[in-house]
């Protein structure tokens, strides 16, 4: 399995970290905004972590964590990390079973304990830890960070928050201000701030306690994800539902602000590079006034079904702050939303309110199997496409 990354790379979290001195960042647009999927490679001075073994990726704004679970498991960090960390496994992570990363904390799950380490200060002990009682009678659902026994780990302090066992939480996605929980029965619950419709209950008011999204009642869901101000989930049947803020087209619904900004962007880019092939952009003719009657959606307060592409099932989805990436059962990766840093992977810096396939994987006959988004970037894992027999 190979991993590719695209989007925000100012701290070398996708590639090129070996070129940066400690704490430095890239200044050059090509290095900061990676608009074409770039393979993640093993760093030169890494001795015992090889990207040949399967790894999982977690990403925050300025860092990427590679989680190696085979044999001697560990986490390696890239991006805004100290020099001695760069390329070497985080020593506190040896033997971990799972990890999640936010801008401030690296949370590690071990078989007998959980630990959250402050990434900004060099400390000798974790900021928070908890023992896991490995009682076979209370084994329940397997560990699924940020879910932990009895609750979950939030993105800011207090780190540990409790959750009612009645919810039977199976998976949880968090943004800094809202949360979406998937129960064992496939019910979706949301809570937190709702000013941009991200809770999906039809209004803009906050919810202090988990509240079931009634509009999805009766349709079991299998996967949930959150962006900064939007939420998505996939039904058992592979349908994708979206709700929340659509200011950059992150819901895949027509976005008025985006159309205006995109038109400006395109005319600017055409001025700068007149030989650029305009067919790579999703431009409309820059005319005055409405081209056709269109309903723009800036806030979607109830879940809406999003048809990415006809007759395709979605297998997994992930969100950055203001963009969304989905993998179909046919092995294609679709992205939409904010694209200023190349996080949509279409070799442009244009945002889009329409899901588009990342063509590079198709062209190189790669099958996308997973996608994980950082705040402003996207990571996709691929395997070689098997040539279909007759």
């Amino acid at each position: 399995m190979r991993w590719f990354g695209f989007g925000f790379n100012a701290f070398g979290q996708i590639y090129g970290q070996d070129k940066l001195l400690e704490g430095e960042c890239f200044e050059n647009e090509q290095e900061v905004k990676v608009s074409s999927p770039t393979e993640l490679t093993a760093q030169e001075d890494r001795s015992d972590c090889r990207l040949k073994t399967d790894c999982q990726i977690r990403a925050s704004w300025s860092r990427r964590a590679s989680l190696y679970l085979n044999g001697d498991s560990c986490v390696c960090l890239s991006g805004f990390v100290s020099n001695d960390s760069c390329g070497n496994p985080v020593k506190e992570s040896r033997g971990c079973k799972d990890a999640i990363i936010s801008e401030s904390y690296l949370t590690l799950a071990f078989s007998d304990r959980l630990e959250s380490w402050d990434l900004q200060k060099k400390e000798t002990s974790p900021s928070w830890s908890m023992e896991i009682k490995t009682d076979p009678e209370i084994s329940g659902t397997p560990l699924n960070l940020p879910l932990v026994p009895g609750g979950y780990i939030a993105t800011k302090t207090p780190l540990y928050r409790s959750l009612s066992p009645h919810l039977r939480a199976k998976s949880l996605a968090l943004s800094s201000e809202h949360a979406i929980l998937l129960s064992a029965s496939g019910t979706v619950y949301t809570w937190g701030l709702g000013s941009h419709g991200q809770l999906g209950h039809g209004g803009l008011t906050p919810e202090e306690e988990p509240r079931a999204v009634e509009a999805l009642w009766g349709m079991p869901m299998s996967c949930v994800a959150t962006g900064g101000w939007h939420s998505v989930c996939i039904s058992d049947g592979g349908d994708l539902y979206v709700w929340g803020w659509n200011e950059s087209g992150q819901l895949g619904l027509p976005s008025r602000g985006l159309r205006k900004a995109t038109q400006q962007q395109i005319s600017q880019q055409q001025e700068e590079s007149p030989c650029r092939d305009a067919s790579t952009s999703t431009a409309e003719e820059p005319q005055e006034g409405e081209i056709h009657e269109e309903v723009f959606i800036s806030i979607q307060a109830f879940p809406a079904l999003l048809d990415i592409t006809p007759s395709c099932e979605v297998s997994t989805v992930s969100c950055g702050c203001r963009h969304t990436a989905a993998v179909t059962t046919t092995g294609d990766l679709y992205t939409w939303g904010w694209g200023d840093y190349g996080q949509l992977g279409h070799q442009t810096l244009i945002s889009s309110d329409e899901p588009q396939r990342v063509e590079l994987f198709k062209e190189q006959q790669m099958r996308v199997v997973d996608v994980v988004c950082g705040a402003w970037n996207t990571f996709a894992s691929v395997v070689k496409e098997e040539v279909a027999g007759p």
Binding site: A10, F11, G23, E24, C25, E27, N28, E29, V32, W61, S62, R63, F80, E103, S104, Q120, S176, E177, L193, S195, L204, T205, G228, W229, C321, R322, D340, W376
Partner: protein, 412 residues
């Protein structure tokens, strides 16, 4: 920067003169709430300011700072956004402005720099002794130099074609009383303490806005034409199609007052602390002396501008402070209801709009709101030079009858 000692006072010379001399003298004090990765970006921008690098690099680092802090500014409620993030946003604006104005900026660069300063003033928090305010003045001077010629080539229409407003006739029984220059004591005894509305006449004649530089479209363009301000679009804030946008004062005047591009719908520069943003206009007004009867200091008075064409409507609502509404240009029809009659005014139930009535005052739905007709009220047509005292929590409805500019003073 070139060491050419020619005395050409370029824009960049003026701007770098107000910036710290070097990196060491450039403060970047931030608390723990700003992540170290962001502080690193800030330091990078500062380094780029004083070193040889490309304009593209500087713009890019500034963009990262602006994008990151913008997300923080949009997280949670505005009131709870940590001031540190608003400062980061202002630093982002500063670094972007510096990058735009370096070397030989084009006219578009200067306008973009101006817009960026305004974004920092509107959404950010003051940094480095309000340096964005200092720089905006330099930029305005630059813009004025280049537009002076253009003005004489295209003489503006001096007068808006006279709107003939349908002026409602005010019945004497319900007219808000008028007193010319009441003494502090009589105002306090007869109106402030018993919370009774009053129109004070002859109290703002001395304002430069009515004297030395009478406010007009031309004057506003010259003082603030290229400045970016928030504008409310859509007929009233209780409507579904209502939204806010950012325009320059010139754009606002052209589109919503002169209707130059035939855009439908109304625009209102409403409830904006314009005078904090544009000190030249602040110098044209004075807080009414009567505010000293309150408990707060002069700094605690919130001053808002209300500038728009005829037909702008503020639906019936109440505010938690005393209000002096000073009319400078044009006239407004205003109706007041006492808080004692709130039960007949059908306020919205929602938290967001509970201070706003559901009733359309000049076209009430008598079936849905039968009690409304029974509520007693006072009304007036407020003219230039008038100051209306709206007691705290008094319900008020306002409709402009023509091009209008009012200034409100909220005090306690």
């Amino acid at each position: 920067m070139s060491k050419d000692v020619s005395l050409m006072h370029t824009l960049w010379t003026k701007i770098s003169a107000v910036l710290p001399k070097d990196e060491e003298q450039f403060p970047l004090p931030f608390g723990a709430i700003v992540e170290s990765s962001v502080v690193e970006m800030l330091r990078r921008s500062r380094r780029q300011l004083y070193s040889e690098t490309t304009s593209a690099s500087r713009m890019l680092t500034a963009k990262v700072l602006l994008d990151f802090s913008w997300e923080k500014l949009n997280t949670g409620t505005w009131r709870h956004v940590d001031k540190e993030w608003r400062r980061v946003y202002s630093y982002g604006c500063l670094f972007k402005v510096a990058a735009l104005c370096r070397g030989v900026p084009s006219a578009e660069d200067v306008l973009e720099a101006l817009r960026t300063c305004d974004m920092g003033l509107l959404m950010g928090a003051a940094i480095m002794e309000d340096i964005l305010q200092v720089i905006v003045r330099i930029l305005q001077g630059e813009v004025r130099k280049s537009t002076k010629r253009e003005d004489s080539e295209h003489p503006q229409v001096k007068r808006i074609k006279m709107e003939c407003p349908h002026v409602p006739v005010i019945r004497e029984e319900v007219a808000i009383p008028r007193v010319k220059r009441p003494s502090l004591e009589s105002f306090n005894t007869n109106y402030l303490l018993p919370l009774k509305p009053l129109i004070l006449e002859g109290t703002i004649e001395h304002w430069p806005a009515l004297n030395q530089h009478p406010w007009s479209i031309e004057y506003l363009r010259s003082v603030a034409g290229c400045r970016t301000v928030p504008v409310e679009v859509g007929s009233r804030y209780t409507d579904e199609g209502w939204s806010q946008t950012l325009l320059t004062v010139n754009e606002f005047i052209d589109r919503y007052i002169l209707n130059k591009d035939g855009v439908k719908g109304s625009g209102y520069l409403a409830q904006h602390q314009l005078f904090d943003q544009i000190p030249e206009l602040k110098a044209d007004i004075r807080p009414p002396d009567y505010c000293c009867l309150g408990e707060g200091d002069e700094e605690d008075i919130t001053v808002n501008a209300w500038f728009g064409p005829g037909g702008t409507v503020s639906p019936l609502h109440q505010d938690p402070q005393q209000n002096f509404l000073a009319q400078v240009v044009g006239s407004k029809y205003i109706r007041l209801y006492s808080p004692e009659d709130t039960d007949k005014l059908y306020p919205h139930q929602s938290q967001l709009l509970h201070n706003t009535s559901q009733v359309d005052v000049e076209n009430p739905d008598t079936e849905r709101f039968p009690e409304f007709a029974k509520a007693p009220y006072l009304e007036c047509v407020l003219q230039p030079g008038d100051v209306l005292f709206i007691p705290v929590q008094h319900w008020h409805y306002v409709r402009s009858l023509e091009l209008s500019f009012s200034v409100s003073f909220w005090w306690s």
